[in-house]
């Protein structure tokens, strides 16, 4: 990792000094050993803040939205998931490719900061769940790349967790989700971190629209959960950031993955964030789609 880290710093330095980029987005070490947090570097003098370790899980691409109305030329370090998020944002026309320099970084999977926080210091920290299931550890798009491509450790989507829920009876399912969403405090961290939740005005911020009351209870929270999953259906790039940031440990990816699974079986396998053009499953149809409603 240290090789990549020094290469990162060198690249950032070169970009800033040459003026090719006015700001570089990367990771810096956070307050805890298991925190590596986003950092925006504007001066070549600061490049040594940049780090690359096993906790650089946070998806940086969403930060590109912050620069759409500035004069900046933004360079960003991007793992496989960051690049899929980047494509997602391009397809949603939320960012413009000419303002960005994507520096691809192959990733071997990040450790779970959540698990680390609960473990005694020095204990072996497991890989985060989203990373364990990752099929695109290498950048899918980049302007330049540092490090060597890694061999993906997963080739197929793992839906065993979704299937476990599907196998429950209806009451058990309802009870499970009610318990999960009772924990939810509707802090919207999952939405804020999500590269697919990139609306300028989220419906959950439009209190006058009547979509949702301010009550925080299992019912309203589930409305929020299902609605958000529906909004990112066909657009979720499976980075797992929603779950990572959830302070209440709601298994949000279980909702997103349910849609991914059903889209794959019903309408054909689809991978969000690999392309920036072409139809998105829910803005598209085929006359030959399965017919169950006769």
């Amino acid at each position: 990792m240290s090789d990549i880290q020094s290469e990162m710093r060198a690249t950032a330095k070169q970009l800033l000094e040459s003026g090719e980029a006015t700001v570089v987005i990367g990771w810096e070490k956070g307050t805890m050993p298991y925190n590596s947090t986003p950092v925006m570097i504007r001066s070549a003098a600061d490049v040594d803040k940049l780090i690359w370790d096993e906790y650089c899980q946070q998806n940086l691409s969403t930060y590109l939205i912050d620069f759409i109305y500035t004069e900046d030329k933004v360079a960003i370090f991007a793992k496989g998931c960051d690049t899929r998020a980047y494509n997602r944002l391009i397809q949603d026309k939320r960012i413009s490719a000419d303002k960005c320099i994507v520096i691809g970084v192959p990733c071997s999977g990040m450790k779970s900061a959540k698990a680390a926080a609960k473990l005694p210091e020095g204990a072996e920290v497991p890989m985060s769940k989203a990373c364990k299931e990752c099929r695109y550890p290498n950048p899918v798009v980049f302007d330049r790349k540092i490090g060597q491509d890694v061999t993906p450790w997963c080739t197929e989507k793992d839906f065993s967790d979704v299937e476990a829920i599907e196998a429950m009876d209806q009451d058990a399912k309802a009870a499970f989700w009610k318990e999960q969403y009772t924990k939810c405090i509707r802090c919207y961290a999952c939405r804020n971190i999500c590269p697919a939740c990139n609306c300028t005005n989220c419906i959950f911020d439009q209190s006058a629209s009547g979509w949702q009351s301010k009550d925080i209870n299992a019912s309203e929270n589930q409305f929020y959960g299902v609605t958000r999953a529906f909004h990112v259906a066909g657009r979720c790039i499976e980075c797992g950031q929603c779950e990572m940031v959830c302070p209440s440990d709601v298994p949000i990816m279980l909702m997103n993955k349910k849609f991914i699974k059903d889209i794959d079986t019903l309408f054909g396998a689809y991978e969000a964030g690999l392309e920036t053009e072409g139809p998105v499953p829910l803005s598209h149809y085929e006359v030959s789609d399965p017919e169950e409603f006769m």
């Binding site: 529906f230 149809y285 789609d289 169950e292």
Partner: protein, 155 residues
């Protein structure tokens, strides 16, 4: 006031009907005097593709016992393609509702044309019977509202 006990339970079912086919089909059931139980309420939308799945979840939150989304058969949409989007969305939402624990008997999507008065009668009758058999919906429901109801019943 509807009774909560299962024997006397009279469910309420909301039907989202597209203006051109299913609403007309329901009208035809009427002009043909085809009888069905009075537990359904039809809400008219221009096209089934206007039905946001969030409306459906909202209805369950507020205590509805069953929801039917109905429109023209694929290929017959007044707006050419609307119901193809309905089909995609509701294939997914049907599965998601079941995943959330809502009994699949409570939520259906059906194609009912303007000529299919008998089909409208049959679909809603069957649905009412099925929902009656499984009792009132308590999933996804706003607990506050359920509590209010309990208080009212006690009075």
């Amino acid at each position: 006031m509807s009774n909560n006990s299962v024997e006397n339970f009279e469910p309420k079912i909301l039907v989202f009907a597209c203006n051109w086919c299913t609403y007309a089909g329901a009208d035809l059931a009427g002009t043909s005097r085809l009888q069905y139980p009075p537990n359904v309420r039809v809400l008219r939308v221009p096209c089934s593709c206007r039905v946001n799945p969030q409306f459906v979840i909202r209805a369950f939150q507020r205590g509805i016992d069953g929801v039917l989304v109905a429109g023209c058969h694929p290929g017959d949409c007044h707006y050419t393609t609307g119901n193809y989007y309905t089909r995609r969305r509701f294939l997914l939402i049907t599965r998601m509702m079941e995943y959330m624990g809502i009994d699949p008997k409570r939520f259906h999507t059906r194609w009912i044309s303007g000529a299919e008065g008998p089909k409208f009668q049959q679909v809603v009758t069957e649905m009412i019977e099925e929902v009656k058999a499984i009792g009132p919906n308590d999933k996804l429901r706003d607990d506050m509202k359920v509590e209010v109801k309990a208080v009212e019943t006690n009075e």
